[in-house]
Symmetry: C2
Subunit: 204 residues, 2 copies
DNA sequence: GCTCGTCTGGGACGCTTGACCCACATCGCC
DNA sequence: GGCGATGTGGGTCAAGCGTCCCAGACGAGC
């Protein structure tokens, strides 16, 4: 093992931890499993990181900072109608989940764990703030202007996406998920300025 | 400790386990914590239940069978418009979550754990099938008929509710959650037969 | 080229965990 | 009223956990 500065080891450990969590779950992400994934001796762990919880904080922040934006960036297509663009983006996202279900499960597990852990309970709010900000970008890119505040619509989009993922992880029903996406996209597109010009009261 | 048949102890342990998980999280639900909650000696655990995972299976089934339906039954109001009824029902649900956030968190933790555990990985599908069935009942009670298959709409409703809960657990933003409910209710109501008589293509 | 601070890694400690054993208490039944 | 089936509970086990220690290897600066 060559000599690597502690800060580098720390990020390497965070990446390794994320890989372990995605593959085997949060409960399996022991200090030993993490250093094994990173190819380090056990002692490097507490040399680079004060504690396991501290590393998990790094993992969440890693995910919030890089992963999210990097993965969702290519979803910002602008094809045809707003509804079609929304269907395309959500389908692409679901495809992402299908390709690596463990990764998305890892997100949920990390959020739940952080909510339960005294030193980490501030993270989920930050995490979701980032999600919501990302959704606002997506909605702006998709078209608009919207008849309701974009921030509110963004929160609905994130909520729906989370729920879609959760349900798919549970029953792996591809067809049902696709139909739900169609419905949700129709619903979201109905909030676009030009969709239904008058009528249909909206008082959010 | 009086003599109690093993089957009774088993259900008592399942209830105790759910209480522990809701209060302190799934990771804290050790055999010792569970028997302490139930007021039993440790040995009663493996007398009544073969293993910890077996008990967690009971917990999920307990939750799926009783808890869900019991808690959601009073939500089936039918006040005013379909949109208003939906807002009322979702708000009442969120109120339920706010009153006992740990309980809802426990649901998510159990689902995630079951997905990761070999003997329990069939449970989440069952769990969500129940949720979806419940949502169909709710939608039928709320009004209709619907312009799209009720099952699809139900899945969307469950997805949205899950996402709403997740987001609220993360940032505890009551106002934002309320606004999201308004939006979602409007979206769902737009799929009712009489909402928008013609136009607005829906091809789910 | 010597030295001091940085990094390595094998080993160990104390604790909690799920699981289990077995002597004893209790009850229903013949 | 004895007796076999059933339930009780204290004590214990091995495994795995997070954390820590410390002797040694390395590399940069005087």
């Amino acid at each position: 093992m060559s000599r690597i500065p502690a800060t580098e080891r720390r990020t390497a450990l965070a990446h390794a931890a994320l890989a372990v969590i995605a593959r085997d779950g949060l409960a399996a992400a022991t200090t030993r499993a993490i250093v094994a994934e990173a190819g380090m001796p056990l002692a490097s762990f507490h040399y680079a990181v004060p504690s396991r919880d501290e590393l998990l904080r790094d993992v969440v922040e890693l995910v919030v900072a890089e992963e999210g934006s990097a993965a969702l960036a290519p979803l910002m297509t602008r094809a045809g109608s707003i509804r079609d663009a929304t269907v395309l983006a959500m389908t692409a996202y679901l495809e992402l989940v299908k390709r690596d279900p463990g990764h998305e499960q890892a997100m949920f597990e990390l959020t739940q764990y952080a909510l339960r852990t005294p030193g980490l309970d501030d993270l989920p709010a930050e995490q979701y703030a980032r999600y919501h900000a990302l959704a606002i970008e997506l909605l702006d890119a998709a078209g608009g202007p919207w008849r309701v505040p974009t921030a509110d619509l963004a929160r609905m989009l994130v909520s729906f996406t989370d729920g879609l993922t959760l349900a798919w992880l549970a029953d792996r029903d591809d067809a049902a998920a696709a139909r739900t996406i169609e419905l949700a996209a129709t619903a979201i597109a109905s909030f676009a300025e030009q969709a239904v010009p008058s009528e249909q009261k909206v008082d959010a």
